[in-house]
């Protein structure tokens, strides 16, 4: 009794602490990011302007700082929060659904499918929906690719994880070839645009894009935690999870849909930003255990924190130039990942 009680007590203490810490760190980082940049805005001014807009005192700033804050900085910070939260949550879901700590949304083709959509749109010069065309194309193509992967991997009402991953590998390769064909036929301007898009960036953030991604991020925020306990059971394997009452196939379809929505929405507004979805859930798992009731909300918060900080670094480290965010996350993420890999191997003899 005592041993069980101790386990039960210790982990929740740590998870609560960590979640609370993240919940404080995210708004703090967001405020910092809102103030720092080429056009500096003091914290006091930000709070005053925020209070003014909410209608609880404060005062509006001069026209230019007010506009920089509300039309340039805040959409970018909010978009970073949403994209980061979506990627962190999608990563935690993917790893849980596949029972594999190496899974990330890219495995099932969301990112490369989205890239094909965006590249096709840029190269073919489509602009039926104005500046939204690339975004919408990327989103639609990302979703279509995921469901194509899922449909191809499904057989007799069941989906083997290995088949799913291998199908994803093949479809990713196919998408790579399609991008290659588009690039081959593209003119230099399109190639430039494509490259910039593939590097990932939040530089073109607008409130419109924030509103575009918001419903999908909300779906993730609401739906994902409902499956936390069942995802824990899935760690036992598919059969044992089913024996404990989990309709594995249905849950997997639901959650892959959620992952696809979250990632496709994120990719469509920010380009390909790698490694957030892979690393964030890992760190949290190492810090406070693998329980998904903690991991899913903390993954959202952690992803948001990483991306807000990363974007702040991307636009300030090399001022006045701006590093592509996707490059920055992969640049820091990859060595970190290697370190994690070696550390885990020496401690536990492998991934666990």
């Amino acid at each position: 009794m005592t041993a069980v009680a101790a386990t039960a007590a210790r982990r929740p203490a740590r998870t609560t602490l960590l979640t609370a810490g993240l919940a404080v760190a995210v708004p703090a980082a967001a405020l910092l990011a809102a103030g720092v940049g080429a056009y500096g805005i003091p914290l006091g001014d930000i709070l005053a302007s925020l209070a003014h807009r909410i209608g609880v005192g404060g005062h509006a700033l001069d026209r230019v700082p007010e506009s920089v804050l509300w039309n340039v900085r805040l959409p970018r910070v909010v978009l970073a929060l949403l994209v980061g939260g979506s990627l962190g949550c999608a990563g935690a879901l993917m790893q849980g659904v596949f029972g594999n700590p190496l899974a990330e949304p890219g495995v099932i083709g969301v990112s490369s499918g989205g890239a094909v959509g965006a590249v096709a749109c840029i190269v073919l010069g489509l602009d039926a929906l104005g500046s939204w065309t690339v975004t919408v194309c990327a989103f639609a193509a990302g979703l279509v690719t995921v469901f194509a992967v899922y449909a191809l991997a499904r057989s007799g009402g069941r989906t083997e994880v290995v088949t799913l991953v291998l199908t994803g590998v093949a479809v990713n390769a196919f998408c790579g070839a399609l991008i290659g064909i588009f690039l081959f036929t593209a003119d230099s301007a399109a190639i430039n645009q494509v490259t910039f898009w593939q590097l990932g960036s939040l530089a073109q953030a607008t409130w419109g894009k924030v509103l575009g991604i918001l419903p999908f991020a909300l779906v993730g925020l609401v739906v994902a935690p409902l499956y936390a306990r069942k995802l824990d059971l899935l760690a036992l394997g598919e059969r044992p999870a089913r024996h404990l009452g989990v309709d594995v196939e249905r849950m997997r379809l639901t959650l892959i849909t959620v992952v696809a929505l979250l990632t496709a929405a994120a990719v469509s507004v920010s380009g390909v930003i790698g490694f957030v979805g892979l690393i964030v859930p890992h760190l949290l798992r190492m810090a406070a255990g693998p329980g998904h009731r903690f991991l899913l909300p903390a993954g959202m918060l952690g992803g948001a924190l990483v991306l807000v900080t990363g974007d702040l670094a991307a636009r300030t480290v090399a001022q006045p130039a701006e590093l592509p965010l996707g490059v920055l996350t992969a640049l820091i993420g990859s060595p970190f990942f290697f370190w994690l890999l070696r550390r885990t191997r020496s401690r536990q003899g492998g991934w666990a």
């Binding site: 041993a3 594999n100 059969r239 024996h243 009452g245 536990q348």
Partner: protein, 291 residues
């Protein structure tokens, strides 16, 4: 939470599993070729037979994992196909051959997963108590806080058993529960199975150790090439000639000099001689008629 009907405890002797003419073919190969199986509350049934006889397959069909291609299966009097996944979880628990875990949950957390089917039912109130008991019974309470992934094979097997016990289902299916265990823990597992049967559960155990089966089972079903070739009390089924025939190796059944329990021993008189040519197990046709 969806409403589920929490099953009543079956009366001792009540039929929990009723399978008739169960057939299963996968990839053109017939794994079950028409098996009848009845399991009653309060009994420990051992499923025996050589490799590839269909023991685990039959267990999978009874567990609802595999849909039989023909035949009828009733669980607690209802067609198994009608039961939803969540409802099935209240009826039966299955201990798989290999215990795996993708993420480093602690032993306590793993055992508590066994209580998942009862979430939202009155039985959830006993979760802590049941988990603690399961840990104690399997001797795993001492490492309840350690990550499951850091355990040895034998420890994992006992934790997996604890999880299955914590599920408290009326039908307990154990697939080779003793495979990874040392002698003491083999006996422990079968004593626990006995205890569950005595408490009114229906217990089905797939075993390779015939003496273990002889010592603990109430009834034995002997499978060969997808058919039940014998079904009855230990004394009737575990006979030298039948076992020799089914396993394709001479077998002797002796009585224990002190307890009188049957001891099943392979004839090892020719152990030092070179191997005769072996007929492949799939081409071997059973020459006996089912009882």
């Amino acid at each position: 939470m969806r409403r589920r009907r929490v099953p009543d405890r079956a009366e001792p002797g009540a039929v929990v599993v009723e399978g008739r003419g169960l057939r299963l073919a996968l990839g053109g190969r017939e794994l079950l070729a028409g098996v009848d199986l009845t399991v009653r509350a309060g009994e420990l049934l051992a499923l025996l037979g050589p490799n590839g006889a269909g023991k685990s397959t039959l267990l999978g069909v009874v567990a609802g994992d595999l849909a039989p291609t023909a035949g009828e299966l009733l669980l607690a009097g209802r067609p198994a196909a009608e039961l939803k996944v969540a409802e099935l979880a209240l009826h039966r628990a299955l201990l798989p051959q290999a215990a795996e875990l993708s993420f480093p949950f602690t032993v306590g957390e793993v055992v508590r997963m066994g209580r998942a089917p009862w979430a939202g039912t009155p039985a959830a109130a006993q979760d802590e108590e049941v988990v603690t008991e399961a840990l104690a019974l399997t001797g795993t309470a001492a490492f309840a806080e350690r990550p499951f992934t850091a355990l040895s094979g034998g420890e994992r097997a006992r934790v997996a058993l604890a999880r299955v016990l914590a599920q408290r289902a009326g039908l307990l299916l154990l697939d080779e529960p003793t495979a990874a265990l040392d002698l003491r823990h083999q006996e422990l597992v079968l004593r626990l199975a006995r205890q569950r049967a005595a408490a009114g559960d229906a217990v089905v155990v797939v075993l390779h150790d015939l003496s273990l089966a002889a010592a603990y089972a109430d009834r034995v079903v002997l499978l060969a090439a997808g058919r039940a070739v014998a079904d009855g009390p230990v004394r009737e089924v575990l006979t030298g000639p039948l076992l020799s025939e089914v396993y394709g190796h001479p077998v002797e059944v002796l009585d224990h000099p002190r307890t009188g329990a049957p001891l099943v021993l392979p004839d090892r008189a020719t152990a030092g001689e070179p191997l005769p040519a072996q007929p492949s197990s799939s081409s071997r046709k059973p020459t006996f008629s089912p009882t």
